[in-house]
């Protein structure tokens, strides 16, 4: 059965997932040496400045209050929730690539999974900070966790806020464990190849004494599979829960049963876009074209095309259902205020980026051209941010009562927090590239041997 599938796969014209025939040693040296070169010093310092801006603004907000933001009633949620949902969504591609595709035994995940997982972690760090600042009194954030307090007050579990806490803390913990588990054998490689004694010692501590014993590999593989199996439903549940923040309320444009699948598809769409945005320049800079081939780009673009098409379909469905419901407010909010209201221009950017750019991926040449794909991925990131803005602010500013309509204008702090969080993401990512093997080396070597065996069997 398996051999049938393999011969079938080989008759299709597909690009290789690994170019050339490097020896194990060459492959190891190529992939591990960037972490000994002290890369990106200037960029790290530059992005550190942005990260400092982020945390300064965060602390300013915590000490002063969220009056520093542009939100006010009726638009009580704005940039913070938009950014929160955007970052969480971006994180989802990492788990999807590393967990879902490992269960599907997709070979093209191998070179890119660690990148994507690291991206998940850093995106989640950003995402988690927004709701905390949004509480207004961030120092009481722990009240959301059920603990036996002297006040004998407990959280209320019919609120989506408590679900968010559970979902995001679980998601971060599981992503971290999964990422670290995948990293252990490669940290052992770093321990064994690092040029200086000090570095060897540091990597040795983090490698936890990994020897590569056969029995260890066996347990390791099974446990990795278990974590992948657990992370797969987790990733779907997390964005469903994020969508419940909206869907369990009663506002027009939010109170909708299509929200969970709509949000999950949107999350994967934006997440894959972010993976490409990060991957394409890096692939060129670190000369990884032999391990991250056009095949990888093509596959990721196809996932974007599929999830983007689900998103586009849901846009249509949203507006159709608003009309079909016959509900006056619903019809006005979705079919008049959204496209033609004060934020109409943002809505049209959203349509152009998300519907237009996902459909342009039907063209094979776009999927296989790194630079076109890079532009598409940037536009999709923009588009998915505007989508969340339209959902959050568009709905809140045009609610049921015309007397309580009101517009939202972002403040300087809003903008600084957003650009600061982008810098913080870049900062963390560069540190990761500087210190940690960013391509799973042992997995590539294993895949190489599998491919060689397949080649010999034929």
């Amino acid at each position: 059965m398996t051999s049938d599938v393999k011969t079938l796969g080989s008759t299709l014209e597909q690009d290789p997932v690994l170019i050339g025939k490097p020896s194990d040693e060459q492959l190891t040296t190529q992939l591990v040496s960037p972490i000994y070169e002290g890369l990106f010093t200037k960029l790290i310092l530059l992005s550190a400045l942005g990260a400092i801006v982020f945390f300064t603004m965060f602390l300013y907000t915590v000490f002063t209050g969220i009056g520093t933001w542009g939100n006010n009633i009726p638009a009580a949620w704005a940039f913070a929730i938009t950014n929160f949902v955007w970052w969480i969504g971006i994180g989802h591609a990492g788990t999807f690539i590393s967990a879902f595709l490992v269960l599907l035994e997709q070979k093209w995940r191998t070179s890119i999974n660690r990148f994507a997982e690291a991206m998940t972690l850093f995106a989640l760090m950003n995402a988690g900070l927004y709701p905390v600042a949004h509480l207004g009194r961030a120092w009481f954030a722990y009240w959301l966790i059920p603990y036996p307090s002297a006040m004998e007050a407990w959280p209320q579990f019919r609120s989506a806020l408590t679900w968010d806490i559970a979902a995001i803390s679980t998601y971060f913990t599981v992503s971290l464990l999964f990422w670290y588990l995948g990293l252990i054998p490669d940290l052992a490689i770093a321990r064994d190849t690092a040029p200086t004694r000090r570095r060897r010692r540091v990597y040795a501590v983090f490698a936890l004494g990994w020897t590569g014993a056969a029995n260890h590999w066996r347990w390791y593989k099974v446990t990795y599979g278990i974590l992948a199996g657990l992370a797969t439903p987790l990733v779907i549940s997390v964005h469903s829960i994020v969508s419940f923040d909206f869907a369990i309320s009663k506002l027009p444009g939010w109170h909708s049963t299509i929200f969970p699948p709509y949000f999950v598809a949107g999350a994967l769409f934006s997440g894959f876009a972010m993976v490409l945005t990060v991957l394409i320049p890096l692939r060129k800079y670190l000369k990884l074209q032999n391990v991250i081939t056009v095949r990888h780009l093509d596959c990721m673009a196809m996932v974007m095309m599929a999830t983007g098409s689900i998103v586009a379909f849901t846009y249509g469905l949203e507006h159709f259902l608003a009309w079909y419901s016959g509900h006056e407010t619903e019809m006005y909010a979705l079919n008049v205020a959204r496209p033609f209201g004060p934020y109409g221009w943002i809505f049209w950017i959203q349509i152009f980026c998300n519907v237009g750019m996902s459909q342009i991926l039907w063209i094979r040449r776009v999927r296989r051209s790194p630079w076109l794909l890079f532009i598409v991925s940037i536009l999709v990131n923009v588009g998915m941010w505007t989508e969340r803005f339209t959902i959050v602010v568009g709905t809140l500013s045009r609610g049921f009562l015309p007397s309580s309509w009101g517009d939202y204008i972002p403040s300087f702090v809003d903008g600084a927090l957003f650009f600061g969080s982008l810098s913080f993401f870049v900062f963390m990512f560069l540190l990761f590239l500087r210190w940690v093997p960013s391509i799973p080396i042992f997995e590539l070597k294993e895949m190489k041997h599998d491919l060689e065996q397949e080649g010999r069997a034929r």
Binding site: D24, W163, A166, L177, T193, G212, A214, W217, I226
Partner: protein
């Protein structure tokens, strides 16, 4: 693996052949070290089936029970609060947290179970003292036999290893 003999090989195929040959001699305390999991490696004697799936299942179910019972107790008994006339025990609202906690407990249990069984988070291993063992994570394959093996006789094992196309055979650890 505390002390014994270790042999170095260049390809996974040779190691597989060596393991098969050694298993026939009745040696039982054999371990193979490789830079990546070797497919089709014959089962080594005396090794346990991975238990982490079991841990994940048991702790996952515990997490589910813990989360649901905690939410129910808090919202029905400890701090009942009428929100929009919904019943105090609203099962659908308790599902998201129950699900998340299940995954959290299962994943953490699987990870910690792995660390515990592999005795990981250790700083040293006798094999790290063998010169050239660094390449076990790069491109070489090692086969070690512990001297505590009841059938272990240094000269016999050394000969068996040399006959198995080993690149070299060296002692490791403090041999008695």
């Amino acid at each position: 693996m505390k002390a014994g003999l270790v042999a170095e090989y260049g390809t996974p195929e040779v190691v597989i052949a060596a393991v098969e040959a050694l298993k026939k001699t009745g040696l039982s305390r054999i371990e193979v070290y490789s830079p990546f999991p070797i497919e089709h490696l014959p089962e080594l004697p005396g090794q346990r089936r991975p238990l982490t799936p079991l841990y994940a299942l048991v702790f996952g179910l515990c997490g589910a029970g813990f989360a649901y019972i905690l939410q129910w107790w808090i919202n029905v008994y400890a701090y009942p609060l009428n929100v929009g006339g919904y019943p105090l025990h609203s099962a659908p609202s308790f599902i998201p947290i129950t699900f998340e906690t299940t995954i959290l407990f299962a994943s953490v249990a699987a990870f910690l179970g792995l660390m515990f069984h592999l005795r990981l988070a250790r700083l040293h291993h006798p094999l790290f003292g063998v010169e050239g063992f660094e390449r076990a994570s790069i491109d070489r394959f090692f086969l070690a036999i512990d001297e505590s093996d009841p059938r272990f006789k240094t000269d016999l094992v050394a000969r068996a290893l040399e006959e198995s196309q080993a690149l070299r055979v060296v002692p490791f650890g403090r041999m008695s």
